[in-house]
């Protein structure tokens, strides 16, 4: 039975199959595309016409082997120039899980793409070439994963076949990376020796590396525990849309629709609505399929309250004794993503935070961070494309915010250029004084 058929069987039996989003980082030389091709191929998620198309193009270009990078490089310019421009999303499933891969290119615009891919990832997979060991880029990727608070990190030491499956080589790289990661905020690190090309330790444990006692990569991806990564403590429900049907059959209905950012909401719970501070109780938590006893992330639901209070999009439902900060002065790490104009002190922008839109002025730039050395340059006056720095913002209306390290949904925001409407920056709230 193929894995997809097994997946079908799992669903049919009612065995829950959950969802894991992971980002991959590394350059083409590290064998990232080969690894993704291998995962898709070995889980039977690669289709014969896709493979045939790649083989034909590879042959036409005179490649010596089937270039699996062509699978993910979907755009004409990418194939012509042999580069990857943008984040590509790939899908595969096993009986236990459905996987969404955000495949981020290693070279071009790596920071912007990596930050984008990592923002939604439960896990990040960093590849290094066993012959080369850690390179500057590996450290950069690890830093970005920690900045974006990706809960799980996997370092794949690839091309083990080219170092005679040497335990010594593997351990040296693993130790060096572990020491580096200890300086960062990396909650969970796993290191796996693999050969993506030959399939060692991808789906099953490799016979070539009997000294390795850990799991094969896919085994780890299938079983890594992500349920407790979610914050089920702090109730945060950003109101997205107010449902008030104007019809003759449904009258006097008023429900607050949104996706639970964190915490668990139940009928009867006492809640507070920000920014007004009014309190009420949850009368019902509803979906189109009927009321539910509890709502938790990532459910999209409609909350009804016992009292009629004025609530609109951008407000936040929380608990009276556990509320986010209501703040107009925001300290944040900002990754700048615009190639045309740098972030400058005094600059005015639009920001989007949860379902709330505001305008903001950059009051100060404390430092620019060198993401290779982690050195802080306090003389910096602006942030250019792919640069990261700590910024102080003043917003026109208060944000209902938590620290990003505590809550990725209520701690993250995007910066929008008001003239071009482009998304020019990503912010992670450090402090709300």
């Amino acid at each position: 039975m193929s894995t997809e058929t097994l997946a079908t069987a799992a669903v049919a039996e009612g065995r829950p199959m959950d969802l894991l989003r992971f980002a991959t980082a590394g350059s083409v030389d590290d064998g990232k595309s080969t690894l993704i091709g291998r995962l898709l191929y070995d889980t039977k998620s690669l289709f014969t016409d896709q493979l045939a198309a790649v083989e034909a193009v590879s042959a036409a270009r005179g490649d010596e082997y089937t270039n699996l990078a062509l699978l993910t490089d979907g755009l004409r310019a990418e194939r012509e120039q042999g580069i990857t421009i943008d984040v590509a999303y790939r899908y595969f499933a096993t009986p236990r899980r459905k996987f969404i891969i955000a495949d981020t290119p290693g070279h071009i615009q790596y920071t912007r793409n990596m930050v984008t891919g990592a923002s939604t990832a439960d896990l990040a997979l960093i590849l290094v070439d066993a012959r080369k060991g850690l390179v500057e880029q590996s450290r950069r990727h690890a830093f970005l994963c920690s900045l974006l608070r990706v809960p799980h990190l996997v370092l794949c030491v690839n091309k083990m076949d080219l170092v005679d499956f040497s335990q010594e080589v593997f351990e040296r790289i693993a130790d060096e990376f572990t020491a580096f990661a200890a300086k960062l905020d990396v909650p969970d690190l796993t290191v796996v020796p693999i050969s993506a090309l030959r399939g060692d330790n991808i789906v099953s444990r490799s016979e070539n590396m009997p000294w390795y006692e850990g799991p094969a990569l896919l085994h780890h991806l299938e079983r890594v525990h992500i349920a407790s990564d979610r914050n089920l403590v702090d109730v945060r429900f950003p109101v997205q849309y107010v449902i008030r049907p104007q019809s003759t059959t449904v009258t006097d209905y008023r429900g607050y629709a949104g996706q639970v950012a964190s915490g668990v909401l139940k009928p009867g719970d006492e809640v507070m609505v920000l920014p007004s501070g009014f309190t009420s109780r949850i009368a019902a938590v509803e979906t189109a399929d009927g009321p539910v006893a509890e709502a938790f992330p990532p459910m999209s639901v409609t909350v009804r309250l016992e009292n009629e209070i004025d609530i609109s999009r951008g407000d936040m439902i929380c608990r009276p004794n556990n509320a986010p900060a209501v703040a107009q002065d925001i300290e944040a790490m900002v990754c700048w993503m615009d190639e045309t104009r740098p972030l400058q002190v005094g600059g005015k922008y639009s920001i989007k935070h949860t379902t709330r839109a505001a305008r903001a002025i950059v009051r100060g730039l404390h430092y620019r961070l060198d993401i290779n050395s982690l050195h802080r340059d306090e003389s910096a006056t602006e942030l250019g494309l792919n640069e990261i720095g700590r910024v102080r913002l003043r917003t026109t209306i208060p944000l209902l915010a938590d620290e990003y390290r505590r809550n990725r949904t209520t701690g993250g925001f995007i910066i929008i250029d008001e003239a071009t409407n482009r998304t020019v920056g990503a912010g992670m709230i450090v402090e709300t004084p």
Partner: protein, 302 residues
Amino acid sequence: MTSAAYQVTHLDALEAESIFVMREVVAELERPVLLFSGGKDSIVMLRLAQKAFAPGHIPFPVMHVDTGHNFPEVLDYRDRRVAELGLQLVVASVPEALASGLVREPADGTRNRIQTPVLLEAVEKHRFNALFGGARRDEEKARAKERMFSFRDEFGQWDPKNQRPELWALYNGRHHPGESIRVFPLSNWTELDVWHYIARERIELPSIYYAHDREVVERDGMLYAVNEFLPARAGEDRFKARVRYRTVGDASCTAAVRSDADTVEKVIDEVAATRITERGATRGDDRVSEAAMEDRKREGYF
């Protein structure tokens, strides 16, 4: 309290994400429309839209870009569904655009490419600024790089090298007058996810999605139904085969696959076992070149 109790299945997670995206569009963009072809993906979108705004009704119209080459079963389905839900239906008609001279009939008779100007004209006429499409990233590699909120300039064009970064669930729908956003709530769904959802929700589909007997010809390795839009060519053998459609598009360029799957469960088994992508198996329009889809999208295709 253990976190294990608070788990959702992958289908629940996908549904929650799609509903969030739809609500976000309605909250932020004044004139959305849902592209409804009567195909399974747009049918699933319609179900998600019902759920997103319940107990209210769906707060936007639907639009069908009608090439004139329709499967009658699909057209019937469309009209029935629209009436049941009390929706406003906008038809952007290719035959009318041919008559008015907006577009010209291509030499090969397939109307896929000339849909684009017809779509764009309807968007302009109705001043729609957000278009829900049922495209999925697993369908095609140009689509694998498209955003959930895909910005289009005043010509409806997609610039793949100049896309807005999309972080967390913070979608940027801002645009200037004349520009628009294409929104793809099913971006993260696969063909198999769509079928599992159809089974779970007991969603009715046009009958051509299930195995039936049909007179076909074999062309370029694919089975095409013989109909008024697609007559058999000289030398082509017409024969009866048991087939179903994996995708529903223009009847002149959408092929069927051999199948005995006459129930949703059997279709799921087949989809799970198949090793050919749905567009590769059934769409003559995507076989034109390596970058056929990318080129059409750049011009303003879905």
